[in-house]
């Protein structure tokens, strides 16, 4: 069969599939209203983010006088200029968040990847025990007070960058996802034949299993990265000094804290506090915090969808 024939055949198949589906599609009218509903929903989703972005590029005086609008009455990028001035708290927070995100993701891939692989092997003698050992942590916890004290004083995480990612580097939920990936994307026969060829467990995992389970690693890595990037609670609980704050906690503090701005202003040297872009500055902080996620998310959406649906499969 020539390539053209194959193309034609595929097209015909598609056509017939569409016809058979057409019998059971919703009516044109219903389709119209469904679309309207979904478009309204999408607008409602985007609207709050739109307001943040627009107000961050409005001049401070326009924002004070006219309030939050759908469109900047006076365009200005002052807020961003202040944001990235040397010595700004946001730069420290950005650095901490980046370090934590990278380190946390790497650790997650290694620990979850190894743990889940052992659990996915039918010949692992203690499989049941270790499955329970991780699953139990999804059902029961020691509570916030105990965690707070243990992590701060016993584990010594108080006021460290470690606090921003170590507590989130391993989760039973990801183990379940990763194990399902191994089981569904790595055929038992391949592992078996590698073993007969004299391949050890580690080499099998690294050279044969890992490349096949790459989408699984991507999924877990992305969830971990988002989790660390968006973390607020661990920083709130474990870190007290500003040099170890992450982005979320920094912008949380800024919200009510105009004093922070004034301190920052004096450090910038000779800036008149009255002229400081207070509200637009805050909104710009929110924009740079959420920006990377909104920009990167559409490219990775399929992994997130996969992770959520795979996780729902009974463990």
């Amino acid at each position: 069969m020539t390539a053209v024939d194959v193309k034609k055949l595929k097209k015909a198949e598609k056509e017939s599939a569409r016809h058979s589906a057409a019998r059971n599609q919703i009516s044109r009218g219903a389709n119209f209203w469904f679309n309207i509903l979904l478009i309204v929903a999408c607008i409602l989703i985007i609207f709050p983010l739109w307001i943040i972005i627009i107000s961050s590029i409005t001049s401070e005086s326009a924002l004070t006088t006219y309030g939050y609008r759908l469109w900047p009455l006076e365009f200005s990028t002052n807020a961003y200029t202040y944001l990235f001035k040397d010595g700004s708290v946001i730069l420290t927070a950005y650095r901490n968040t980046l370090i934590a995100t990278v380190a946390g993701t790497v650790i997650t891939i290694i620990t979850v990847g190894l743990y889940a692989y052992a659990l996915s092997r039918p010949d692992f003698k203690y499989k049941k025990f270790f499955t329970f050992f991780s699953f139990f942590t999804m059902l029961f916890s020691g509570g916030m007070v105990s965690y707070y004290n243990m992590a701060r004083s016993v584990l010594g995480l108080k006021d460290t960058v470690w606090a921003l990612f170590l507590p989130m580097s391993f989760s039973a939920y990801w183990v379940i996802i990763m194990r399902t990936f191994y089981k569904s994307s790595v055929p038992e026969a391949i592992i078996e034949s590698a073993r007969i060829d004299g391949c050890g467990e580690w080499r099998t995992l690294l050279q044969i299993v890992a490349p096949l389970a790459l989408p699984g690693f991507a999924t877990v890595a992305l969830f971990s990265a988002i989790g660390v990037w968006n973390d607020f609670r661990n920083c709130l609980l474990l870190n007290d000094s500003a040099q170890y704050f992450n982005l979320q906690y920094t912008i949380y503090q800024t919200m009510n804290n105009l004093r922070f701005l004034k301190e920052n202003a004096s450090r910038m040297g000779g800036v008149n506090v009255a002229n400081l872009p207070a509200e637009t500055f805050r909104m710009a902080m929110a924009v740079v915090t959420v920006g990377p996620i909104i920009l990167a998310y559409p490219f990775f959406q399929k992994y997130f969808v996969k992770g959520l649906t795979v996780g729902a499969v009974k463990g």
């Binding site: 709050p48 203690y126 942590t137 607020f232 609670r233 949380y252």
Partner: protein
Amino acid sequence: MSVGKLQASKNGKSKTLADSGKRQAAYLFMVLPGVLFLLAFAYLPMPGIILAFKKYQMAVPTASSFFKNVFLNSLVTSEWNGLNNFTYLLKDAPMLIRNTVGYNLLFMVVGVVLQVGLAVLINEVRNRKTAKVYHTILFMPYFISWIVVMYALYAMIAANGFFNQINAMLGKNAVKFYSVKKYWPWIFLCANIWKYTGQGSIIYLATLTGFDEQLYEAGAIDGASKWQQFKYITLPQLMPVIVMLQILAVGRIFNGDFDMFYSLPNGSGTLRQVTSTIDTYVYDMLKKGNLRNSFGYAGAGAFFQSVVGFALILITNGIVRKHHPEMALF
């Protein structure tokens, strides 16, 4: 595969046993890092739950104390306090439980309806490409932190926020959202819907698309309308997934979404009656530090959450397993 290797692998029982022993050792080595993480961050705090029954008194360890750590030493040496910490908790308990459980139930019920509804909408839209675009947009808020949502909310409901601009245009007085209680249940509900509807619908959508198309075609031939198809074909098939997710949600019914309840009200004290949950209460107590046994009170709240939540998940799962074993979680 060479014949020699095949023979080697069949070469007596002792060889395979040694192989298996080596393999088990490798597996154990693989779970080790994960075990360390679970021990440090999940299992280590568990015994600390006895704080709930202690009158916490800070005790600096001496040369003779078993634990050299201040917290561990204080935990062990503090007197038992019976159920007194819980009695103290009871003072605020009705309000806290009403808020925590009330909001959670509200989110669960509204959430299921909207999420299943959205999944069906997206599944039925004729143009698959636009359906994908809708999906991408609606799923996005799941990845936006509550802190950023707090900013967006502020931009909308602050004194000079977007809503009050509209109010001003309509000639109405500005609404002070951050000091009026009655708005907040609705604000929390809207925020919750905004953030989680798209994400929640994904599992239903994935389940929906996996259904056998023939069932629907048979239904259509027998004259079932789209609505009847949804009621008699889609919904019954979705049930196991819905039930499973609700079991998990019931287990967390005393654990609110801490970040949301803590951040959205922007620290407004006047709203406390409608924005405090057990989580935020435990945190507030915790922040009072070692003073007046606040660790003990916070511990009582945390104990309540952990133990009652655990019991609830076991009970719900037990009931489901009794009636529909295939829907049970474990």
